[in-house]
């Protein structure tokens, strides 16, 4: 058809197909169940040795045993105590240090080089040193967890403070709001989302360090239990322990989501 010639009316073709996210909730469940079923079947058919990878049903049976004979309760109690004290200590000190760096240029100049130097050290590598300093008891393990939590918390806190729009602080100053009240009513709530999202990272870090620390010279705790079952070739009990750790991680994540929703209703 020559350019500029009259053309008959026709519909405009739809050209924006694809590249859109859709939800497929059934697919996730189906794949998950299929994987479990395939695993169970492979063990029962003798394709996988029960010793190396016990069937899901055996893992559940081992878990029930753990629950019934009180092993789970004792080890979980020991682990939770270390996790909570270590995480809480690292978080409190980390937030305090983050506020100091975020608010005072002197603290910033003094603190940031130290933090940049120590942050990259894998904290678990320091456990033997802490055992020398603090003994083989709880303190050294809790310290490792606290140290691992401290750095991401501190960095997220001063990062959140740095990102507060200058304007809202100037606004508060323009109404003569006293400095401490500005801290409480403006800086803290504005930094809260950043601090809370760090909790997600530090919870994972704390769990990882806890399990690792319990595998070095601890008599109790889920990590120590998993290690001991491995040495006894009790893989069903080992995996039951791993399952417990995973569920713990999941519960913490869910709890944090709930906390964020409660505290940040305004978003």
């Amino acid at each position: 058809m020559p350019d500029g010639a009259m053309q008959a009316a026709r519909p405009v073709r739809f050209r924006a197909r694809g590249f859109v996210a859709r939800r497929h909730p059934a697919a996730s469940v189906v794949v998950f169940l299929a994987l479990i079923a395939a695993w169970e079947a492979a063990v029962r058919l003798g394709l996988i040795s029960e010793l190396f990878l016990p069937a899901p049903s055996s893992v559940l049976a081992a878990l029930r045993e753990l629950i019934e004979d009180g092993t789970l309760r004792d080890n979980l109690a020991a682990s939770l105590f270390r996790l909570l004290t270590g995480w809480a200590a690292g978080t409190i000190v980390g937030i305090a240090a983050g506020f100091a760096i975020g608010l005072s240029s002197l603290a910033r100049a003094a603190g940031i080089p130290v933090i940049s130097a120590i942050y990259p050290i894998p904290k678990i590598a320091l456990l033997p040193l802490f055992i020398l300093w603090l003994g083989i008891g709880e303190t050294s393990r809790v310290t490792v967890v606290a140290l691992g939590v401290f750095f991401p918390t501190c960095i997220a806190t001063f990062g959140a403070i740095d990102n507060i729009p200058r304007g809202i602080i100037r606004m508060a100053q323009s109404f003569d709001v006293p400095p401490l009240a500005i801290l409480r009513k403006v800086v803290l709530p504005a930094a809260l989302p950043g601090i809370l999202s760090a909790f997600r990272i530090t919870a994972a870090v704390a769990l990882l360090l806890l399990v690792a620390a319990e595998m070095i010279g601890a008599q109790s705790g889920i990590g120590a239990y998993v290690l001991a079952q491995g040495q006894l070739m009790q893989t069903d009990h080992l995996l039951a322990g791993v399952l417990v750790i995973s569920v713990l991680g999941l519960l913490i994540g869910t709890g944090l989501s709930w906390l964020e929703k409660r505290l940040l209703t305004w978003r």
């Binding site: 323009s174 109404f175 003569d176 709001v177 403006v186 940040l264």
Partner: protein, 257 residues
């Protein structure tokens, strides 16, 4: 109250933002300030309100405060500066919270400020639930709640669409007719300045100086009448003539920056 700035200059590093400014706002007067982007209007307002120490010059206030005045000078900001975790009511309360007064009075002041600007039914809404115009109304109510002697407005309508801007100009008009609050109204919009100001200071491009001061010789109440509109249109042409060249050069400066 009256506000006087003398010989104000501001230097940021090697940028001279303000050259040598004298401003005088009489009691109950609204001074419009217009000038191209980057000529130092916000800087001047920050200096006049005590939010920035000037490199040179002095600022003084004098005269009688209105009754129940809690803060001599209050700001209305271009980007509102609301606290997103507080409701409209909570935002308006903020400047009252550190003043000791019976809780009933505080609540009454907040309610009155919200009512004055038509926000009563949005008192419990969070900023993210409000339109731009409603957000700025919260910013205005917050400033009015302290019953300031001087109101400093930094391009308060620049972030809003044209229709919302008209509506808020009507609100300002009403509030000024009622309270006669001394005010400085910074804008780059000639129509806003002509509708709202008693006098208009035209700034040069950076470094900002006062190029000219134009009196808007039309009564506030007459500005919507045909005769009033005709006079404002004349003033508009005059102001545009004064500012066009400045804006043209400033625009090119920014391109090459």
């Amino acid at each position: 109250m009256e506000l006087v700035g003398r010989g104000i200059g501001q230097v940021f590093g090697d940028v001279t933002a303000l050259a040598e400014i004298d401003v005088h706002v009489a009691d109950g007067e609204v001074l419009g300030v217009i000038g191209p982007s980057g000529c130092g209007k916000s800087t001047l307002l920050a200096i006049l309100g005590g939010l920035l120490k000037p490199s040179r010059g002095t600022v003084e206030v004098s005269g009688r405060k209105p009754p129940d005045c809690l803060a001599e000078i209050a700001y209305v900001f271009q980007d509102f500066n609301l606290l997103p975790w507080r409701t409209a009511e909570g935002n308006v309360r903020l400047p009252l919270e550190h003043h000791s007064m019976p809780e009933a009075e505080r609540r009454e002041r907040v309610a009155e400020a919200l009512a004055l600007i038509g926000l009563t039914e949005f008192a419990a809404a969070f900023p993210r639930q409000l339109s731009g115009g409603m957000r700025q109304r919260v910013g205005i109510a917050r400033a009015l709640a302290v019953r300031p002697a001087v109101l400093l407005l930094d391009e308060p309508l620049s972030a809003l669409d044209a229709q919302t801007r008209e509506l808020l100009m009507e609100d300002f008009q009403r509030i000024w007719l009622r309270d006669r609050t001394t005010a400085i109204y910074v804008t780059h919009n000639l129509t806003e300045a002509l509708q709202l100001a008693d006098r208009i200071a035209v700034f040069t491009r950076r470094p900002g100086r006062v190029r000219e001061i134009v009196a808007v010789d039309v009564n506030r109440a007459d500005r919507a009448t045909p005769a009033g509109r005709a006079r404002l249109a004349e003033l508009h042409d005059h102001l545009w003539g004064a500012i066009r060249q400045e804006a043209l050069v400033a625009d090119r400066e920014l391109e090459h920056a």
